[in-house]
Symmetry: C2
Subunit: 336 residues, 2 copies
């Protein structure tokens, strides 16, 4: 399977390492032979239609901060040019999410779909701003569009709700979908001030470069858009979410909650309305998880409420979700 | 799809109600038209090759305590005779679990498979005593064998581990797999004695007729056998489980645990060894759920630990899992 990889940060590098370390197993068990024919980062590209050397890619990136130096003739081809000119079967889109115009990811995805390539995106931007139209574009071009890694990182929340609960009607759901804000709120529950807790989370590298994505609830809102579209069949985008972040949560709010045996959590919920906002959750509710954990509770018609808890996104977890999507595509192709 | 239903207790009746209430939806959405051609309970049978009237079945059962009176000529055909003489596509086995000889469920399942029928079992007995050989028998006879409802009731734990985590290697797991003992232990944590907590659980109808299944950990052990075979590919049966129940747990043990910010839970675990035993679990571990809840934590190579929490078995939850299995079989048949 010929792959173009857009973005070569932590996730992209983890994925390439996974390809290396599991090569034999992937081929023996699933018949999957991933061949990375192009990699693009913000400074340039590396291309080889017969497949790039994965170890060399990582070394070059480490040494020069870009894959551009992979070949002696430094390759400055952009992601879009690569997608137009290099033949491949799958685009794996891992550039950073933004919720203004979702670029460059949006153009990468559209270009790839129009060329008939399947797309795996862990970039939430394009989905948050244009989920319904991207799904239509994928259908129109008869390509598969997968995005397991956008919600829950390594925890297969989307797949669980869609497949494991097939035959069930999910009537509502609520979740802690952003680990960073959960980490801050958990720390505040021990008496730490908002500012100190934020500083600590920043020091640990948990906060996005654009801190607004975490603190104003945009990351959680983007995930809510994806869940609402995928699981509930709603056709919504970011502006449909009623979104409040955690900047105004005070230690007083948290103390008040504690008196009611509750904790304040940033909850993304879908129950008629789509809301992201801080909310008191009883301590003995399975949803009430601490630290950087994510959790989501699905309520279904006949099976009651089911909660899934797992680590949010980390490089290896997200890479592992991309691999799951690739295996799905591989299987689907084999079937048709 | 022609169905024979062995056992017509809470689960069987819930299933039939589900068929009734979702008839249109099941046909429109999944192309599934369940036709119940035979029902067997401990006192007799009801048979009609063109399909039994589902409402009437429930009325008769309610009035006479058996489906035998469905037709004027009371039908005393046994489950095995029915399986031998009535043509059907799927056996749904819901008779009570026992871990001595697993009868009559074991013979029902074997008879059906040998006749080329697909089998859905929510009866854990045959699986606990003979999982590896039943899987072989199913393969040999080219029939599907499904048992989603045996672990986690309405919570699709088996499917989650097998499908949602495909491409991942699960390295170990641990869970609270029996809601009754969890209810008793949770009550004991508030100072109630073992005897009082047991009495309360019995009054609420949570305890099996044979209380040993809950209290001595047999139910949890049976589920552990199923998980170990299905998810880890081990070929084990009940005697391979090192099993201790909760009869010897004292309020002192529980107080001691509380001092360490822990709670005592009956944990079924698979980590090289297969063990069911009371164990101290930290209060802030997602696995540490209360009341009748079930929980299971899977640890995988690249996605960390993921915990699923849900209600254990209830009639409607288990019926809903049977429906999921039926839809799977329907889809699989359509595909080939």
């Amino acid at each position: 399977m010929r792959i173009i990889l857009c973005g070569f940060g932590v996730v992209g590098q983890s994925l390439v390492k996974l390809f290396e370390s599991r090569a034999e197993d992937l081929y023996a068990k699933y018949g999957l032979k991933p061949r990375v024919v192009g990699v693009f980062d913000s400074k340039g590209s590396a291309v080889n239609p017969s497949g790039l050397e994965l170890n060399k890619l990582i070394e070059v990136k480490k040494k020069f901060g870009t894959v551009k130096n992979y070949a002696d003739t430094k390759n400055t081809m952009s992601g879009i040019e690569m997608l137009k000119n290099v033949e491949a079967d799958v685009l794996i889109e891992t550039t950073a999410s933004n919720y203004k115009d979702a670029e460059p990811g949006m153009t990468h995805i559209i270009t790839a779909m129009k060329k008939g390539m399947h797309v795996i995106s862990v970039n939430k931007g394009p989905l948050a701003l244009a989920f319904p139209s991207l799904m239509e574009l994928a259908t129109y071009n008869q390509v598969m569009f997968k995005f397991s890694g956008t919600v829950g990182g390594g925890t297969p929340i989307l797949d669980y709700a869609k497949n494991s609960l097939s035959g069930e009607r999910i009537t509502s759901f609520a979740g802690i979908l952003n680990g960073t804000t959960n980490y801050i709120l958990t720390n505040m529950a021990t008496g730490t001030s908002y500012e100190e807790a934020l500083k600590d989370a920043q020091d640990k590298g948990y906060v996005e470069a654009d801190e607004s994505l975490d603190l104003d609830g945009l990351d959680a809102a983007a995930k809510l858009v994806i869940l609402a579209n995928w699981i509930m069949g709603m056709k919504v985008t970011m502006p449909d979410i009623n979104c409040t972040g955690i900047r105004k949560v005070t230690t007083e709010d948290i103390k008040k909650a504690a008196k009611n045996n509750c904790a304040v959590k940033l909850i993304a919920s879908c129950n008629k309305e789509l809301i992201v906002a801080p909310k008191e959750i009883p301590n003995d509710d399975p949803l009430c998880v601490n630290g950087t954990l994510n959790a989501i509770a699905f309520t279904s018609e006949h099976s009651g409420t089911q909660t899934i808890i797992g680590r949010g996104a980390g490089g290896m977890e997200t890479a592992s979700s991309i691999l799951r999507d690739l295996l799905d595509i591989r299987q689907e192709i084999a079937r048709t």
